[in-house]
Symmetry: D3
Subunit: 336 residues, 6 copies
């Protein structure tokens, strides 16, 4: 089940059919996102170009525009399309080299839509838990914190900055693989907090406040690392710096401003820096105290279980095989 905010008003164009359901030989008159744009090339009868189109289904399809022998005209169409644009495509679906494709032959055409002509929400997977319910759970965790220094940090970030909370609560958790949907980041954050809460109950030596705060803050750098345009994608700065250093810096600056005591600050920052467990996975420090160890395992468990259960659900739909190879995890997954 998925939850979508009710649409405020009608858009001129809306998505008709998911790429996942497109069949060969159909008439296409639908909207897609431009994921990759390739340059224009001459061919036997004129000039052509190709694109990779995608939609919220996560599927991609190759698109070809086979223009006539008027270079300037094809160039004009080509130049008007940019990556991340939503395009209105008229043409036909076909199988080409065993792979599905969409072809436009004039007089059919393709054009980029303006911002107001479509609903961007149609291009991102919808939330899997109601956003408001998740926000309330987040607030309950914060109000349960007893250490005033820690509480102040969480309130400063998640409560007082309403704009941040609004964005944080709908941000996806990753580009692909796991929690890659509206609100995925908050959903993942709460899963991590819940595992940590349970750890507290079983290992009473753990400092609940530091651990829960670490859980809630561990991925805030993702707000800068990935962005949502018409699709979820990595920012340039995110690829060059990574969400771990960016989240570390954002948190450190806020705690400096708030005058958080050094021991607390060091612990929260260490949790952010170490939450991928080791250098091999991007953490410049390994977890060096119990609460950091707890957040690291909770993060790993939440993301890996999300990844495997989503993979299994998707693959079960499309194959009758007992096993399917999971490329990222480099092993077969048993689907039955």
């Amino acid at each position: 089940m998925t939850y979508i905010a009710s649409r405020q008003f009608a858009y001129m164009y809306s998505k008709k059919k998911s790429l996942a359901d497109l069949k060969e030989g159909e008439r296409v008159d639908d909207i897609f996102v431009v994921k990759i744009k390739r340059s224009m090339k001459p061919y036997a009868k004129g000039f052509m170009f190709s694109l990779i189109l995608s939609d919220a289904s996560g599927k991609s399809i190759e698109y070809s525009y086979w223009g006539e022998n008027e270079e300037a005209r094809v160039k004009e169409i080509h130049d008007a399309i940019k990556e991340d644009d939503v395009v209105l495509v008229k043409g036909y679906s076909r199988i080409f080299n065993d792979r599905p494709g969409i072809t436009t032959n004039p007089p059919d055409s393709i054009r980029a839509l303006g911002r107001g002509e479509y609903d961007p929400a149609e291009f991102i997977n919808p939330a899997k838990r109601p956003v408001q319910e998740m926000v309330e759970e987040l607030k309950r965790y914060i109000s349960g914190i007893r250490n005033p220094q820690v509480k102040k940090v969480l309130e400063r970030i998640f409560i007082q900055d309403e704009e941040f909370l609004r964005k944080f609560s709908t941000h996806p958790g990753a580009i692909e693989i796991h929690h890659n949907w509206t609100g995925g980041l908050l959903q993942h954050t709460l899963e991590v907090a819940r595992y940590c809460q349970l750890s507290c109950e079983m290992f009473p030596d753990l400092d609940r406040d530091v651990m829960i705060a670490g859980a809630l803050l561990h991925d805030i750098g993702k707000m800068q690392e990935i962005e949502v345009t018409t699709r979820i994608k990595g920012t340039v700065k995110g690829q060059l710096k990574g969400h771990i250093p960016m989240g570390y810096r954002a948190l450190a600056n806020i705690m400096d401003e708030l005058g958080t005591d050094e021991r607390t600050a060091n612990k929260l920052l260490h949790i952010v820096l170490s939450h991928h467990g080791s250098g091999e996975f991007g953490s410049p420090k390994e977890p060096m105290f119990s609460e950091a160890v707890a957040v690291y395992y909770a993060d790993d468990m939440s993301s890996k279980l999300s990844s495997v259960t989503e993979f299994t659900k998707e693959e079960k739909k499309s194959t009758e095989n007992d096993f399917m190879y999971h490329t990222r995890q480099r092993k077969n997954i048993y689907l039955r």
Copy 2:
């Protein structure tokens, strides 16, 4: 806090002072376990031998018996002591080469006690949760299973075989590092089950029955791999075969006997085989479906958190340093 069953009757000798509290230069008249026995050697004034003694504190100490120049007599004392014996030692504590030691010089002596002369429970760390409380939690998990095939397996192992349950509920979870106390195996088993239970609540595609059963059964091979004499130690067969294959075989034989359907049997057996995650850590198969992934992460989280919190608690007592090196995990742990 630790829980010990009330003693039934008095023993002739009982432990007076923990090795952790022994100071240099004290008179010693106490009982210890023989961890390692070394052979007898001549020295300037006669014949001597040394032992490594330990007790429930987990500390070990070097013991030396400096006998007189009567080979036969020293040999008789030496021959009467075997590894795992509980010995009554009279002598003095001393620092030798910067390390603590206990020395016996005649007429003081050392002798092995008989089974009835001491309480074996004094040599194993006591349970950290009341055993009965844990058994009830285990039974609640079993009664909550809906799949009759799975329930039958769990009842056959944990309910119908009372002798097994009695042993299982007091068995330690490991030789050292984590859950190495009376009832540690059951405590760890329940921690794994709880993480799995929480995973179910967040990832509803998971098959709760298979996962909880996998959690409860994953370590049953430990019943054969480690044994409790006067100390916790690995069995010879355990070192040659490992608890993963042994637990796999025990479970497979029982399910064959019960006629468990093949799909359920394969899943439970796969969980047992894959619960260490990869070949590097002793699993001949990596987890290949979601429930196996969940048990693997839960097992890892329970054992690592137990290990780090215990380490921190112990080290905080004995050092004022901010950091202490954790040999097993090959990193510094921050203690403040």
Copy 3:
């Protein structure tokens, strides 16, 4: 040279031409095995589906059925074909996207054959040594064992259970790479035994009986891990559990039944568990005594030499290059 049992009676259909010899543009009227079945899809002129076909040559080829615009009729043909079926195909060979393929256009068709219509032996590579000769060699090894406990185990498994011996002596040793032919498992088993026999002669401290028995038994789990239908393939249970734990369990149960003494049993079981050398390659225990080390190296040498010599022989036929990349071993092999 290869050895095939003489055929008992004639089948209706038999293989005409190996896939390795199929040329482009030929008329095809032959039988193949269905390795992978894909779902039916609409195309410009109707409905089509594709299969991956194979035969004993080890080669695979893509097959396409381009049906007419009658969904029910194509569906009926498609539904009647299952993976592992032997199919009678009429059509043409062609090159499509630089890859070889077979195409059927109605009125030509494809249909699954019944069990009695073809000879299954045509789809598995024939034995490379006469099976009877190998069985005699196996029996000589067994009769040479002096330790009665060990001998009893071997006789119970290989001699008394004639059905098992019959299957064991024709089973393949692997799905691909090495010894993947009728009798390959026994041939490999004997190679391992011979290397061990030679090790005995050079290292007289080795316990010949334990080592030879370990060599003969090390791969018995393969009987459950792989199966031969119309092709060699992994079983579901084999993929979830692996031949090492399955062989371990089978052997342990038999030795329990026979009352084999614990030291002997531990040694033989350890050899089975450790014969892949390390966790990285699927052994939950590394070889911990000399005889286990000997079997591990012998197994590795037999399989790697078989793999490289077969690869070289095959590649020499199909290329004039000096070197050919061996994907599994991730290195170039010199062919001259």
Copy 4:
């Protein structure tokens, strides 16, 4: 050759003999740094405690105070000593368990000196290049930068903040292994810059300004990661966060304040984050453009060559062996 700033005034106590030159059986009346303090213990004749002492030679020595049987009095002496204190020690050197040691027996004693009683410079290795000469080289590099954005960043950090420059120019480069002396950080920084300058001359596509700035800035986080008290040591925050994230944050904040353009800022920050080459060595990002690759290799070459040449020089003095094992680099070094 080493360079030391001339002493401003005389201190009450000064170092008499390096630990490297101390012989057994000598009278000791000298000053040392307390590296590790251990707790007080009773012994046969009273109460004792031990310390690890060190000095600028890099050598450490075990120290024992064997007090009389007056617990309060020994406790007072023990309590008055803290880690990093400079202590005035009277006693004798001796060999104990084959290791050198210093022993104090009353009436000889030990006491911590106050800040003004000794010259802290005596406890850190002196600079290997004149500090002023290095500062001038640094300034020449900065004045050679053409890109005004980049120049502004460097001037803000190294020129305008005189206090920072003063500290930066005398800071050590590491705790041990390489550049662990006064001014070592600046010396290493300039070595990296010189290799980069040479790379520019050979690979003209490199952006000199970005690369030289990256070289000068790459290790600024070391100012927070290590500190110089009476010895060079890691800070708590440094061990929990590391110089890479700390340097990244410091630089990012300054560039934000200066309004450095995003492309330039991203490049400089990426160089800081990636300069250890890979996650294994603490970099959350691998070098992703040529200038970052150049700084990474230059940093590695400077530190490894410094380490090996220093090791060789030291070991040549103390052994006649041809080879000596280099623990950090896990290989033998040839000394001839």
Copy 5:
């Protein structure tokens, strides 16, 4: 900028257009190198064969000859072409399966040219520094050597054997990736020497003569490992033995002949053997003294910087993406 020796005389055929600039649908009448030759196959209308053609641009293209139904005639054309031949091709460029290709249909044809009909220099990338300038720099390095034993070795190899110097100064440094152009080996050799020269200036303990000589000699085995025909390619012996052992042997034999003292000889040979740093990268010994460490890092820095800067330059031309995946280095490179 590239430097080419002026052409001595005109050849009958010369290259018209680089493969990098070929557009779809163009008439082709040009010369190429045959990189891979595939066997002849029947197709619907006759017999065809395909080749992989390349030129100095480093690009490759698939070529297809679609002959008529006269097997003998097509075979004659096919048989006359060998790998490494330069062929004169008439036909058309086309896009086939989204990949560029060249097709010949009779009466157009293809034929191998004789040695005198084309200029081989057209098929190798031209030098990036004037060869003569590099030779002079090499000679300056040699004349700067003071140790007469070392100098004698260098003069024997590089000065007295003029034929060797002529070949060495135009040899490429690698098949692909870095310095894969005329004179690339010498250019790389001098880059390594320059980094070493700078290391000397900063680390005066280094033995300049041994290090510079090691730098100049480290890759002489490449003269045997790779060869230049109409393209740069690995020799059979090079693939079986590698340039490190071959260079080691060549140098050792010359030094034996010259009577170089053993210590010097050992050092130079060790530098050659260890210059890839570790076994993982082909060095049978890790660098064991400072000069070997210096040459290793210099070699790595020269080749990696060359590789990344060349990659960036090439990719910038062909994509507008911010990042491009570098297959060899397994990471994204940032191009802006």
Copy 6:
């Protein structure tokens, strides 16, 4: 059983008691080898120095000379002793810091013996197979070679150079771990050849001549890498270059001289270079054809089996434990 050539004549001093049998508190008047020499140091009553002594048992013992307060006199004694000397020691055995030691107090003394005063054979472990028998087996292998090119190489090395054969047939195979005794190299060489011979019988595609020759030649570089003085030790050149490149070069030079055809030469040289299997273990090339694969596995099997069986035999003597840790192989070995 071990085989020693009968002694030709009596030496002045001979070994009285193996270090393995030395007990504490015994009078010592025996000969030992000086393995490590340490420098002279002052102590409370004068000047002392220490040595590490060893003998053929493989055991080492710390030796201390506690001289009087006459520096010149102790220095004279100290100066007269060099590493590898055989020394005549008078003194007492003792346990010091729990480790065995030998102490000399004047007037007892220590002095280095001259070459003729002792039998060097007493300090190396004796051969385990009669040397003459092994030489005959080697010759049979050579005479069984059919390929005249290969045979010529073997005869040139092993038959025509009698001096070489004499040394080769008594050389040890390694410094420690396996085959570290007189004739160990030839014994190991023949074990490798026998495994290869068996491989031939089972894999008839293998080229027997090339493989057997590769087996016989694979370790000839050990003749230069290790040397026998009064103990087995690595040469300086061996540590800097390794037996693989040295054996490669020696063989290559001989084959050049004989004019061996290139294909045969490449194959034999590749076998030498690749016989450690991968760069990690010192081979600059991995085995690239079947015969090289066969020699690699045979070498590994011979050395590992020798190592484990020797370890087991030794440890069984000295412990009653079931398991003993094998430091080199990083695992426990089961001894029962």
